[in-house]
Symmetry: C2
Subunit: 160 residues, 2 copies
């Protein structure tokens, strides 16, 4: 899985904590996590296309959660950033070589190897879909939310 997933989930969690602070710019999020702005922008745009974030244009613009943290699952974030493709891709090699000759009716049923691999993948997806950004908020130390807001306000304060 690309590092974009780590960034994406952390951005959602931080934006959940910063609810009410107005849109947060890509530059600030990039500095927040010390990650490259241009690559982070791609992840934020993908999350926006998926309806997880909403984007406000302009100099005061940036990103905020588009839905309640209870309604954003880890599966939503992973799918937005990595696509919905299976981890295991079945190319039906059971019937492509000389080993498959004469298989006929046997191949009407889905491949057992593929079914077994997908069963495991389903367990992964089910677990990702059962965990939301709100769950991550509850599981975090109380201090993290507070410190995030305090630090963000310091960072956003206009210079005197």
């Amino acid at each position: 899985m690309s590092s974009g997933v780590e960034w994406g989930v952390h951005c959602c969690l931080t934006l959940a904590w910063l609810e009410g602070e107005g849109p947060v710019s890509t530059g600030r999020l990039a500095a927040w996590f010390d990650v490259p702005t241009e690559y982070l922008k791609k992840q934020l745009q993908a999350l926006t296309r998926a309806g997880i974030l909403e984007s406000t244009p302009g100099v005061q613009g940036g990103f905020a959660l588009a839905r309640r943290p209870e309604s954003i699952t880890l599966m939503d974030v992973v799918t937005a950033l990595e696509g919905a493709d299976e981890l295991f891709r079945c190319t039906e090699i059971r019937q492509s070589g000389v080993g498959g000759l004469g298989g006929g009716d046997e191949f009407r049923r889905p491949c057992g190897v593929s079914a077994a691999m997908l069963r495991a993948e389903l367990a992964w997806r089910r677990e990702l879909a059962a965990q939301t950004i709100a769950d991550l908020m509850s599981a975090s130390p109380e201090a993290s939310a507070e410190r995030t807001r305090r630090r963000y306000r310091e960072m956003s304060r206009p210079l005197p």
Copy 2:
């Protein structure tokens, strides 16, 4: 996941069906599934290093299962071919940028994002570990095992 996993699992299943036929060469397995010999060889060597296959050298040499099909799980095959690395890699971005400044004690506990992602991954691994090559044999149509043996004998018969 690379296509090597599909090949690896299918090779194990086919070698389980061909138990008693002697070692099966890389060339025959490659023709069996119509996959490139050189790349397949790498997968077979990795499975051998992991103690899943045993390799017999020489002109009559090739590969056979090194353990009973009941003792080879899909997790074994995936780990042998893809390594044991996590799908999700945590790089601790929570503490690397300005957002992490002053976090101190909060970061003693494992990152909640990483923990949540790993929980899902564990569900995947658990399911892979619960399924063996013997399970794949039982789930396959009876005809597949028979046809595999018949076809392999035809393929191996010396020309008249």
